[in-house]
């Protein structure tokens, strides 16, 4: 059961940013009919897929203060579930998607159970190492393209039909899934469960002293986040009709963290804005120069040193208020 957002006079004001984000996303296909349709659709579809991944990371990073540096592994696991099943002739989303989610959940359960026994610097290094393990596993899958990855025969089918073959249809499918993921995450963070996760971010010792064994809650959060990111992997493979180990490089994990932080930690809609900001910035800067990372790297350092609270925080400060 999805929690309906409350209505009332304050609703639009309070929810202005997320509402605006989704309205804009819904209008993109309309704007795209005026030109550069396939470019625009594919760029924004990609933004929305990464937004799902960033949302899932925000759940544990923003709300749980768990700096997971191996999150891209789930993108790869979701993607490879599609790729490997397709290679064996199974192209139905009703088989592919549950498997993609199950594999992601299982990987999250095992690696999470090990990494969550540790804290701080250890946790970061261990999640990074497990992410790298998944990467090397993909590289060594010679039967499925190894280093070079593999091209899919086509997008997933639904009930044997090519429902998302059309880019516009696929766009709306991704938008719907993004909205569903967003509402799910919002429901989780204000639920009993989410309150335990948020409490652990503020003061883990206090939470233990009132009787919460935090490990199991954090592990459940880690599994939820990993599974949701597996969904993003499933979509990414479908969009590109291609999967490769590049989905799960550790740089990609780092980029996911950057997206969440750019948009503002622990805000959910910030993760969507951050994903858009990062990918559009990448697109824009790399149009100038192939060395765009030389601009982006120092930009990141400066954001950390001087602009706390991410882009949204900076915008809010400059604009002198804004929402919330």
């Amino acid at each position: 059961m999805m929690m309906p957002p409350e209505s009332g006079p304050g609703f639009l004001k309070r929810e202005a940013v997320p509402v605006l984000v989704f309205v804009l996303l819904a209008l993109v296909p309309v704007a795209a009919t005026f030109g550069a349709e396939s470019y625009l659709l594919s760029l924004v579809t990609r933004v929305m897929i990464f937004a799902i991944a960033a949302l899932s990371l925000d759940l544990i990073l923003g709300y749980g203060a768990l700096v997971s540096f191996g999150h891209a592994a789930f993108l790869g696991l979701g993607g490879y579930a599609v790729g490997i099943l397709s290679a064996h002739g199974q192209t139905d989303a009703l088989v592919q998607l549950p498997l993609a989610l199950a594999v992601s959940a299982l990987f999250a359960l095992i690696t999470g159970a090990l990494s969550l026994r540790t804290k701080g610097v250890y946790f970061i290094m261990i999640t990074l190492a497990f992410g790298q393990m998944a990467f090397f596993l993909a590289v060594s899958l010679a039967a499925y393209g190894g280093d070079d990855g593999m091209t899919l025969p086509g997008r997933s089918r639904l009930f044997g039909l090519d429902l998302i073959k059309n880019d516009r249809a696929f766009y709306f499918a991704v938008l719907a899934l993004l909205l569903a993921s967003y509402l799910l995450c919002r429901s989780i963070v204000v639920s009993r469960f989410g309150r335990v996760i948020r409490g652990a971010r503020e003061n883990p010792q206090r939470m233990a002293a009132i009787g919460f064994p935090l490990f199991r809650y954090q592990l459940a959060g880690y599994v939820i986040a990993g599974t949701l990111c597996g969904l993003a992997g499933f979509l990414l493979a479908n969009q590109a009709e291609f999967v490769s180990p590049a989905y799960m490089t550790w740089q990609r994990s780092g980029e996911l963290i950057v997206m969440v932080v750019l948009g503002g930690l622990g805000t959910l809609h910030g993760a969507i804005i951050g994903a858009a900001a990062f990918l559009l910035l990448e697109e824009w800067l790399s149009g100038f120069t192939e060395h765009w990372k030389m601009i982006f790297g120092p930009f990141l350092v400066l954001v950390v040193l001087f602009a706390r609270g991410g882009l949204m925080g900076a915008i809010r400060r400059i604009g002198g208020g804004g929402h919330g």
Binding site: M3, M207, A209, G211, P213
Partner: protein, 250 residues
């Protein structure tokens, strides 16, 4: 004879060559208000950590109502009714005072593996939380962010959080630390009200408060209990006077 509410049997703890808890045994009958005093560095806080399960003991055991809880973790002991407060204020600063307490209620009211529904609006959690806040005198501060409360109010909030966990045995680790005279008067009155309703083990520096509140007092010096008994007897114990009270100039 009824089982003691809390019993420590030969607890030990050492950090390297430094013995912090030295063969501590203690039994608190149900409903007793017991205080542990001792000079700085006597190992009082370590002892509370051991009793509550935050720090494992090297040897010895902790019994709660006749059951051995030595092998249980901190949260598990809380669920058995052994609840503690912290010497250094430990609250969730970003949550409202009410939510701080409601979380403690939540820990004991059904499952927290619920992903839907706003926890903040659950009357089942908020009503008992509000009751605990009123009990400690914070009823009118419920919606204030805990981080913005005054120091004394934070100490009251901590006790409200502990009460919401429905303790059978309450461990209070220097609740008066850092409070001014007015704030401590409020807290002492609060502890007075709690007296007899549950078993309380208080660790405190404030001698006046201890002798006013406690039915029995134990003196901890270098990790060892050197005296234990009614306040008057302990105060007059010559060993205590030389080892501790004399040193404090009292």
């Amino acid at each position: 004879m009824a089982e003691p509410a809390l019993e420590l049997r030969d607890l030990n703890k050492a950090y390297g060559a430094l013995t912090v808890t030295d063969h501590v045994s203690l039994a608190l009958p149900d409903g007793e208000f017991h205080a542990i005093i001792g000079p700085n560095g006597a190992g009082k806080t370590t002892l509370i950590h051991q009793i509550s399960g935050l720090v494992p003991s090297d040897s010895g055991s902790v019994w709660l109502g006749g059951r051995d809880v030595t092998g249980l973790s901190l949260p598990e002991r809380v669920h058995r009714g052994l609840v503690r407060s912290f010497q250094i204020t430990s609250i969730l600063p970003g949550f409202s005072a009410l939510e701080n307490v409601a979380l403690a209620v939540q820990a004991h009211e059904g499952s927290s593996f619920r992903f839907f529904g706003r926890a903040r609006e659950e009357a089942r959690l908020n009503a008992p939380a509000m009751q605990a806040l009123e009990e400690v005198g914070l009823g009118n501060r419920a919606s204030v962010r805990a981080g913005l409360l005054s120091h004394g109010e934070k100490r009251q909030l901590e006790i409200a959080i502990a009460l919401a966990a429905r303790p059978r045995v309450l461990l209070l680790d220097e609740p008066l630390a850092g409070t001014g005279p007015e704030e401590s008067a409020v807290l002492i009155a609060l502890m007075q009200r709690l007296r007899g309703r549950m078993t309380i083990l208080l660790i405190e520096h404030d001698m006046e408060a201890v002798f006013a509140l406690a039915e029995r007092v134990s003196v901890l010096v270098y990790g060892r209990i050197i005296a234990s008994g009614p306040p008057a007897a302990v105060r007059d114990d010559p060993e205590v006077r030389t080892a501790y009270l004399g040193e404090e100039g009292g």
